[in-house]
């Protein structure tokens, strides 16, 4: 037998850029997180920042344009727009995050099951997703939110019913392609049980992509919450909410356009922040 040659140790000495270094080199992630953190800080500390209460009316100072006293002016009942805007962020953002928890977990789990096991498991789960996806998103949101009663509860139930589909679809595709990868086959030949392969092998591989989808999906969820508020079947007044604020301001659109425009921009701002974070995370994970 000839002597064994060891190959040149190509990558072993190659410097591995640290996590912090990678984050620093991803501007979209930095900017997005910063934008989001600013919003969260404002929402947490608003009672100390603003002298007003969100539902404190002052009918002598209604529909005022922006000024030093009222940074964004006042609405038709003389409430401070900026204060209401940030209190609304509290409501909307906390619902947005909480309502994603259950759909995210079920979606990822069902997606892995369908992708890994294939066959009838896949057929059943795919039929289920195809069924729910057949209902136009807003139609089902509106119907379920209405039927389960206006308010937060309706939103949570709606998203438990339909929110998991996006994750299930993405994760199913990913898992099915990972299933074809040889490390899954190796795990199988090593005699590891399916549950272990799903949780220990597949999960860490599908999670990054699922989190990226989560970011975009949260934007969609926020927009849906706001839309329900606008349609009057979301969060009930007097709890401040961007959707109801837009709808309240609609009557004054010709005279005080900012009443509707500003809460809209708040939604857009959050959307930009989250999708930048999503893009950034995707970038970091792709580079690896």
């Amino acid at each position: 037998m000839k002597r064994i040659r060891t190959e040149p140790q190509l990558h072993q000495d190659g410097r591995q850029p640290s996590i912090i270094h990678r984050i620093w080199n991803t501007p979209s992630l930095l900017v997005g997180s910063l934008m989001f953190v600013v919003l969260i800080v404002l929402a947490v500390f608003i009672p100390y920042i603003s002298p007003y209460h969100p539902s404190e009316q002052n009918l002598s100072a209604f529909l005022q344009p922006p000024s030093a006293e009222h940074w964004l002016g006042t609405d038709q009942l003389g409430r401070d727009l900026f204060t209401r805007l940030i209190y609304a962020a509290r409501t909307d953002l906390s619902i947005m995050v909480l309502a994603e928890v259950v759909p995210f977990c079920t979606g990822v789990f069902l997606g892995m099951l369908a992708g890994y096991y294939g066959k009838w498991v896949d057929t059943v789960i795919t039929l289920l997703t195809d069924t729910f996806i057949a209902f136009p998103f807003y139609l089902i949101v509106i119907i379920v939110a209405f039927a389960s009663g206006a308010g937060e509860r309706g939103i949570y139930i709606t998203f438990m019913l339909v929110g998991w589909i996006v994750f299930a679809r993405v994760v199913r595709g990913l898992s099915a392609s990972f299933r074809e990868q040889e490390w899954v086959a190796s795990a199988q030949t090593l005699g590891l049980p399916g549950v272990r392969i799903i949780l220990r092998h597949l999960l860490p591989n599908v999670l990054p992509q699922a989190v990226v989808v989560l970011m975009t999906d949260m934007v969609g969820l926020l927009v849906a919450i706001v839309t329900l508020g606008y349609l009057g079947i979301g969060i009930a007044p007097p709890t401040p909410d961007w959707g109801t604020m837009i709808s309240d301001g609609q009557s004054f659109i010709t005279t005080a356009w900012w009443l509707s425009a500003v809460p809209g921009f708040a939604v857009v701002y959050t959307g930009i922040a989250l999708s930048l974070v999503g893009d950034g995370l995707a970038d970091i994970w792709r580079k690896k």
Binding site: L127, D130, T131, I133, F135, S148, Y230, T254, T270, S275
Partner: protein, 316 residues
Amino acid sequence: MNTSYSWLVTALLRALAVILFVVTAVFFIIRIVPGDPAKMILGEYSTPEAIKSMHHTLGLDLPLWEQFVRFVKTLFTQGDTGNSIIAGTSTRELIAERAPVTLLLIVMACMMAIIIALLLATLAATHKDKLLDHLIRIFPTITLGMPIFWVGMLLILLFSVRLHWFPVGGVSEGWIGTLYSLTLPAITVAFSQIPTLVRSLRAQMLEILESDFVVTLRAAGLPSRVILFKHVLRNSALPTLMLLGVNISYLIGGTLVVEQVFGIKGIGSLLFTAISNRDFPVIQGIALYCAISVVIISLLIEMISWWLDPRTKGKQ
């Protein structure tokens, strides 16, 4: 030939199964969510007797399976989900009356979305990493978080209130008038689809532009416009179609909301009237018809792309 038929049969069977699931879902959706439909119709403070008689009218006092049998029976004999509680007429007629304008709006929005998205994606992909590409790539990030109704409001504010280019709302008489007054709503609906479409299409175009066959054709000295129009665009047409199939459901949902903003008397306004009247059969009917149309449209798109793509046929 054998395999192609089996593909068709599987696709049809799957669509049929989904439709069955859809019917079941429409039946159950009102029943699994908390809250008593009768109470919702009559109001929170109605007498127990009134609720009981309403249960009887809606058939809610029967066992669940009997309710389901009734539901399916109505579906097959009448083709709908029963008569409207308020209007008394069949939901099918109510929907048929409102459907044309909604359909027209959807078709217009689809066409606008495809044309604009394809244009933007082509521009971005052919100018990769240049200024134009960066601008187009920022666009989806910004518009992702725009509520569709809010976009509609801003467009009304700009084009109708300030510039007087379009009517503020409603639908005018005649063909030209209808198309004219639906333009702004269609742009609004399209606007909600363009970000996702542009994103995926740009990625797909880049993949095609950098594939070996484009290099072959460029190396063979074909003019770039021929490569772009005859080969690249044709290859991205199929993915576009598929993408639209996935998004058609979102598009229909958006249309319903936009109708509300622009005061268009279509399915959307029928839905919201039914909701404020607690008219359950109508709500169910709309859900059923929308979902079944989505299933059929998806099936058609699947069949068209299968038909057009030689790769699905295999060796002969």
